[in-house]
């Protein structure tokens, strides 16, 4: 089997593309970096890849709202192409700003007559925050989290609070194992209402990452590409670390899916 190809999508303001591509390559993929202008011109570029990754950053400055401008471009011009890509059994990963885009396009959680079912909005404290969080995984469905129970990863965002239109949406996502990643306490537990800092942004149901019904589209606010080296861990000088960081599993699972 040749190396799976990952298309790392760049747009004005994308800024985690290089290290995300590096993580994928470390996991055994071949990364290509494609500008949104090129994809808008010719969506067939997508066909050459097995994985589409929307990395972190501030696409179009996050003006209007995080990911809003790029989401509207993709929704109006690329919905069909990405639908076909997904239907072909391929994978889509959105990290941070990429998650915001996947939510705001409806690619991850399709809307209905009443519009989109959920959004990512301002953190409760109203500020950008860079900090590390404990995460609990529901790996039943999500291809990217196969074998994962708990993770420790950094977040860096201002608009990461997951809000659904109503509770029933969250309930059905949960029962369908789509709440793939939730903020938790260091011991792995989480209840209905975790407070800051365990739940860093006030997300409903402590939601940090969501996967599609297929399990092949995954969006998350934390940055797995920022914990692939043992020295990325904030306490590596005092706590023993393995050979690689916990975030690598996300990329290895994606590559392994095509093995």
């Amino acid at each position: 089997m040749s190396k799976p190809k990952v298309l790392i999508l760049r747009a004005p303001g994308t800024n985690c593309d290089q290290e995300t591509g590096y993580a994928f390559e470390k996991a055994g993929a071949e990364a290509t970096f494609v500008h949104i202008n090129q994809l808008l011109e010719d969506a067939s570029v997508l066909e050459k890849s097995q994985i589409l990754c929307l990395p972190g950053g501030f696409s179009y400055g996050d003006d209007i709202g995080a990911g809003r401008v790029l989401a509207s471009q993709m929704q109006s011009k690329l919905a069909d192409a990405i639908g076909e890509f997904h239907d072909a059994g391929k994978l889509v990963l959105g990290i941070c700003n990429g998650f915001q885009i996947l939510i705001k396009t409806g690619f991850l959680l399709p809307g209905d007559d009443a519009g989109l079912s959920a959004t990512l909005t301002w953190n409760n404290h109203g500020r950008f925050i860079d900090t590390w969080v404990n995460l609990k995984a529901d790996s039943d469905k999500c291809v990217f989290l196969k074998g994962v129970e708990q993770m420790y990863l950094p977040i860096a965002h201002a608009e990461g609070k997951f809000v659904a239109r109503d509770q029933s949406i969250i309930d059905s996502l949960k029962s369908n194992s789509q709440l793939a990643l939730t903020y938790c306490r260091p011991d792995g537990s989480n209840g209905a209402d975790l407070a800051f800092p365990d739940n860093p942004n006030g997300s409903s149901a402590n939601i940090a990452g969501v996967c599609s019904d297929s399990g092949r589209i995954f969006g998350l606010m934390p940055h797995p590409e920022r914990f692939i080296d043992p020295t990325h861990h904030p306490r590596w000088t005092r706590e023993p670390q393995g050979d690689e960081g916990q975030g690598m599993v996300v990329f290895r699972n994606a590559v392994g899916f095509f093995a």
């Binding site: 760049r10 004005p12 303001g13 994308t14 800024n15 985690c16 290089q18 290290e19 590096y22 993580a23 500008h35 202008n37 090129q38 972190g56 950053g57 501030f58 179009y60 400055g61 996050d62 003006d63 209007i64 709202g65 809003r68 401008v69 509207s72 471009q73 109006s76 009443a114 519009g115 989109l116 959920a118 959004t119 909005t121 301002w122 409760n124 404290h125 109203g126 500020r127 950008f128 925050i129 860079d130 900090t131 590390w132 950094p154 860096a156 809000v163 659904a164 239109r165 940055h223 590409e225 920022r226 692939i228 080296d229 020295t231 990325h232 904030p234 306490r235 000088t237 005092r238």
Partner: protein, 993 residues
Amino acid sequence: MSNTTVASPTNGSDSSSSASNIWQIDILTSDGFPDRIAEEVLADAPDFGLPTSLKITAVRSFLVQGDLSAVDVQAIGNQFLAEPVVQYTVIAKNGDSVFDTAPAGTSTLINVMPLPGVTDAEAESALLAVRQLGYAVDAIATVRKYWISALSDNQLKLLCDKLLCNESIETIVRGALKVDDLQLGREYEFNKQIVPIRTSNDDELSGLSKDWQLSLSLVEMQTIQAHFKTLERDATDIELETIAQTWSEHCSHKTLAGRISYTDENGTRQFDNMLKETIFAATMQIRADLGDDDWCVSVFKDNAGIVRFDEKNNVAFKVETHNRPSALEPYGGANTGIGGVIRDTLGTGMGAKPVCNTDVFCFAPPETPFEELPPGVMHPRQIVKGVVSGVRDYGNRMGIPTVNGAVYFDPRYVGNPLVFCGNVGILPQEMSFKAPEPNDLIVSIGGKTGRDGIHGATFSSAELTESSDITSGGAVQIGNAITEKMVMDVMLKARDLGLYTAVTDCGAGGYSSAVGEMGEELGAEVWLDKVPLKYEGLSYTEIWISEAQERMVFSVPEKNWPAFEKLCCDESVEATVLGRFTPTGNLTLKYGEEVVGEMSMAFLHDGRPPVIREASYTPAVPTEVSVDGTQDYDGQLKSILGSLNVVSKHWIIRQYDHEVQGGSVIKPLVGVQNDGPGDAAVVRPVLDSRRGLAISCGMNPHFGELDTYHMAASAIDEALRNCVAVGADPNQIALLDNFCWGYTDRPETLGSLVRAANACHDLSIDLQTPFISGKDSLHNEFSYTDDTGNRQTISIPATLLISAMGQVPDVANCVTMDLKSSGNLIYQIGITGNHLGGSHWGLVSGNNGGHVPTVDTAVSKSTFNAVFDAISSGLIRSCHDLSEGGLAVAIAEMAFAGGLGVEADVSAIDVSGTDGANADLARLFSESNTRFAVEVESMNQAAFEALFADIALAKIGTVTDGESVVVRSGETMLINSPVGELKEAWQSPLDWS
């Protein structure tokens, strides 16, 4: 789904609105979600004495001009601008009465809009995206609407002036908003301006300099006059402006690079070029001494200094100040400060890729009562918040981790806050130099040109007064980070494809400085009418000197232009040919076919008459510390931990993305709960390499009150020991200087600076740590008239920031400052003297006496090397430098960062220069240089001590599982405080919500 109110135009109360093609989309927060914009204002309102009953509802509003149907606008508003679930909209023609309904409990409507021409990034992005969605929109503007509960006229004015609107960039409309046209600009009528400079008398010359904000002295004006007399013609306006920009303090550093006669207790010394004969000379000597091992690459000539990093790469480092704009508009000032310094490294060599930022700020204490502020200054808390958000929004959006910083507080920064922004970049070794080739095209990419920041270069060389916020408003720019990110992305691609021969940034002075510098050796012809404009109506001179942000200038061989242009076009970056580097030795400025300026590069760059200054210095006479009776050391320790310079800056640090780019090794906050104060940050700029860069800084204005020589020496020592404390090699640390001083036309003020520069020279040579670049900002004084009608001036304290960039051969050896395990030994490394002068103990105890810390460079050099050896050999578990608050603060910080206790006996520390009474005071709080506290595992005791055989070393205690920091001196208990209380004292003061 959004609740939407759509009023059709005919329902509007104002019949004229139906004729307008401006729609208004109001975006409101849905019930159950916080009104963030209002909450921000309400949080600060009590600082200004506004009633706690104040109620505000904020509305984000977009004005959209174009030929649109109601259905179109509804789609734009609901499907694009408003966030589903958490927001809803009200949409109608602008002027419709539907917008006039006051929310419950409010009565007054205040609209805040950007002044015409001020960057409105959100509107720009909205316009771009809405057009891409296929709507015919001509213009978009944003408005913040505030519905406010009943206030007196004075209260409302206070609220508007201080919290809702910054008049240097925004304007207020009270009541219903009615806008006729969003499109800016008017047609420009070409008019070449000739200034009869040859016939002007001295008064007229001085008047011309002042009226045109040229900031040129009479001698300089006379030199220009003489030059044009020899040319037998008068000058054009653009020629005078070009000379003023090129000769400005900001661009030419004429004071410090000028002739200075300096007198101190050792006699008088004449400098022909002070900087060249001190700091620069030291670097030259170090490079000569190193010979083949010279690791400096390019110093003091490009936009940033460059040194060697690894086999393939060099690194560039620059720190700039952006003080005056930040005093007027903290957000925009800091924003463009960081944007500008990033362009400095981008414009270094053939372009360096930015890898991390460092930011240091000086403010007045944020709790300063509003009533005590001099007229015309912003409240320091507003400045702090604005500056931090400005750096955050630009650095984070650029995707550059902000990894290091410091904040220094002193009441004298009230009118002149200081904002230092720094950036490190990496570039392939062979890309470190550049030169335009004859007849290369002059190409500008990035932002368009407007009237932004006109006279920024000359403005930054003048003193601020209480009316600066009114008269200098034109100098304030706002950045748009995404434009700069796009420029960065394409320029690094173009660099690697070899498409250009030289690059520089457009900073102060705009194109006039950028093209003037690049074409200095060749000559250039510029076609000003080709410059893309934000709006019509700019004169050729405005185009030439505008400081509009996010522009870079390249020299592109004509054969490469098609490829260069396509690369830019593919990523939606505007690229324009502005002229040609013609090998004439002249700078020729054209507008259409008209030559509007023609100057020789030689006169422009070498024609400035030297600035000649007197400088003198008299060091303060040292006094002794007088302490009476028993000291409450526990209380003093907590006071120092809670003093503003020492306290935790987590509120700031966590707003910066310090991990983007994936190279983070040592983060700014470290320890068992990720919240202890690290000494220096370490990053790996090359993802598949183990080699690291350590970034740190040193600064201590308080020592400057006693002797600026020792202040500078201490700042250098502090920057170095911060770097060494995490594992950097002391033999490869590069330094930067940033001098921020008061009015240096006064001999004693300039003298204090020359004295500091002498220290930089001496320490640099002795420690073999070269300065590779630097910057100065002079005349940081604020003048106002007080209540009694007297003119008052506040000068900032002499402020020297030393930034250090060290290298770590293998990041696996790095250490942090948090204690690791109980049972480990604690040592103090270095010599403690009686150095309480200018100390934080003096600050909290109100004791002004004491001796200033000095540096013995022979001791520093051997100590730094020994610490590096010990860290590299894995013999040190934690290491913390001793600085503000001395040993007591260092141990307390190590304890609470590690969540462990300490049992220590400091009697083993020899103290030089005290009588017995003050020895323990000095052991705890002296701020003597070149000292560290380290933690060592007992099994490594012998190996560790062997490395320090010739260096002062005292075993002072052990790490415990206990919950207290206990420090004795023999039988005497000095400190016994719970770790939790110490941490609380340190963490709570700036724990802003």
